[in-house]
Amino acid sequence: MALDKQTVAKVAHLARIKVPEARLESLAGELDGIVNWVEQLGEVDVDGVAPMTSAVETGLRWREDVVDDGGYAEKVTANAPDAQMNFYTTPKVVE
C-alpha cells in the first residue's frame, strides 16, 4: 500500500506530532520511499525463524521488593514547564 497523505495525517496524529497541511504531501513521498525500500525484506525466507527478542543471552534479573527510591517530589518536578504544588499540570482534561 502506498503511504498517502491521509495515512501520514493519521499516523502523525497517533504519534501526536503536528504536521502542517502543506507538509503532508512531501512527507508522504519521503515516508513512502522509505517504506518501499524496507519492503525488500519480503525477499528473505524467515520460515521457522524466531524473532530476535534481545541482543544479550541472559535472563531477566529481578529486583528485591524494597523501597529504595522516590521521596523527592521536588526533584522529579524541578524540570517541569508548569509544576504547581509538586503536581505536574496539563491543559484541563474533560472527563
Binding site: L14, R16, T53, S54, V56, T58, G59, L60, R61, W62, R63, E64, D65, V66, V67, D68, D69, G70, G71, A73, V76, T77, D82, Q84, M85, N86, F87, Y88, T89, T90, P91, K92, V93, V94, E95
Partner: protein, 485 residues
Amino acid sequence: MAEYRLKGETGEWEVVIGLEVHAQVTSQAKLFSGAATAFGADPNAQVSLVDAAMPGMLPVINGECVRQAVRTGLALNAAINKVSVFSRKNYFYADLPQGYQISQYDQPIVGEGEIEIDLPDGSTKTVGIERLHLEQDAGKSMHDQHPKKSFIDLNRSGVALMEIVSKPDMRSPDEAAAYVSALRSIVRYIGSCDGNMAEGSMRADVNVSVRKPGEPYGTRAELKNINSVRFVRQAVEIEALRQIEILENGGTVDQETRLFDPTKGETRSMRNKEEAHDYRYFPDPDLLPLEFDDAFVEACRDSLPELPAEKKKRFMESYGLSGYDASVLVADWEIAAYYEEVAKHGDPKQAANWVTVELFGRLNKADKTIADSPVSAESLGELLALMADATISGKIAKDVFDEMFETGRGAKAIVEEKGLKQITDTGAIEAIVDQVIADNPGQVEQYQGGKTGLIGWFVGQVMKASQGKANPQTVNELLKQKLDG
C-alpha cells in the same frame, strides 16, 4: 441455579458477562522501580526517576510481583507460563508518563484456569479464567484544582497490577457479583492483593452483551472501573436492559466503552472523549523475556494457604456444615479462622449458627467487621463451651452474648457475676416443680383431663420461677413424671 432471563417485548433474553479485574499486587515497591506503593502519600512523593519517565531511565522488575502473580495463577488453577514477555502498549495520556504502559500482550505470565463461584441459592458454578498478566498502573489526574488545568500525580504510576480476564461464562448479575467476590476472596486468602475496592486496589471492567437463548453472542459493551460488588450487580442489570431496549426497537448495540453512574442508575458512552486506539504493542526492548523454572513455581505453590474452595469442602466434610453455611464462612479467611477457633469449643454446627447469625447480626448492626469484633473467637468459644456442658441454656447464652458484645467481657465472668448458672440440681428443680403444681390445681386438672399441650405452659412457669436458670430438660422430665404419674 435457576436460569436468569430478562423479559422483553419480544421474549426472553439471556445476559452474557465477562470480566477484566485489575488487582493491585501487594508489594512494598513498584513493578519496575524502587518507589513505594503505599496509599495516600503527598503528590509525587512516591515517584522515582523511572516512574516519572525521565530520559534514559530503565525498568527493572520486582521479583515479588512475579511471585504474587504466579501464586495467584496457581490459586486460579491456571497454567503458569515459565516464559512470558513484557510489551509496550503505546498511547498518550496525561497520567501515562512514558507514553506507553508496560504490560503483557500475547505471552502473559498466567494462562487459562478456572474457579468455582458460590451463588446465593447455595449452588456453585465454574467460571473459566482466560489469562492473568502483570502491568503498570497509571498515575492520577485531578480536574478540580484549577479552572483551566488538570493536575497530575504519579504516585500510582508504575504500581503493579494483575489483570485477571475471565471467559464470558457468567449469565446473571448475581453470577458476575459472585465471581468478583470469589476472586477477591482468593487474592485476600493468598495475600497477593488486599482486595480493597474502595481504595481502588481492585476494580472491574465488565463486558456485557445480551442474546436470545441459544443464539450467538451479541455485541458487547465494556463498563469501566466498577469499584464494588454491589455496583457490578447493578451495572450488569442496567446495561442489559438498555441493550434489550435498543435491540427490541430495531437498533444495534455499539461495541464501546461505557461508564456506570451508580447515582443516576445508568450507563453512559465514553465514546466522545475516546480516540480510535491503536496501541502498537511490541516487546519492550528494555526488558528481556521473564523466565523462571519449575522449582520457583513449586515454591510458590508450597507457599499457598488452604484456598476458599478447599476450605469450604473441608468445612462441609469435617464439620457437617451445609454448602451455604460453609461458603459464607470461608468467603473471608478471617471469618473462616474465627469460626474454626469457635468450633473447637462446641458443636460445629451450633458454632456456625452462632457465627453467621448471632455474631454477624450484631456486627452488622454495629457496623463492624470481624476484625474489630468486640468478642474474640476464644470468647465465643467459651460461651459455646458453657452451653455444651449445660452450665447455661441457649436462651441465657444469647443474653450473655449481648453483654459480651457490649462490654467485651468474658462469658464465664458474666455468668458468674450475674448468677446465671443453670440449675442442674434435681432436688432444687423438683422443689420449684412441686410448688408450680401446687399453685395451679386448675391447670393440673385440665392437663390430666387430656390437654397435654399444657406441658409447655408448665415448663414456662417453672423456668420463670427459676429465672431461666433451670435446666429445661430436667424440668420437662420432672413435670411429666409428676403430672402423668
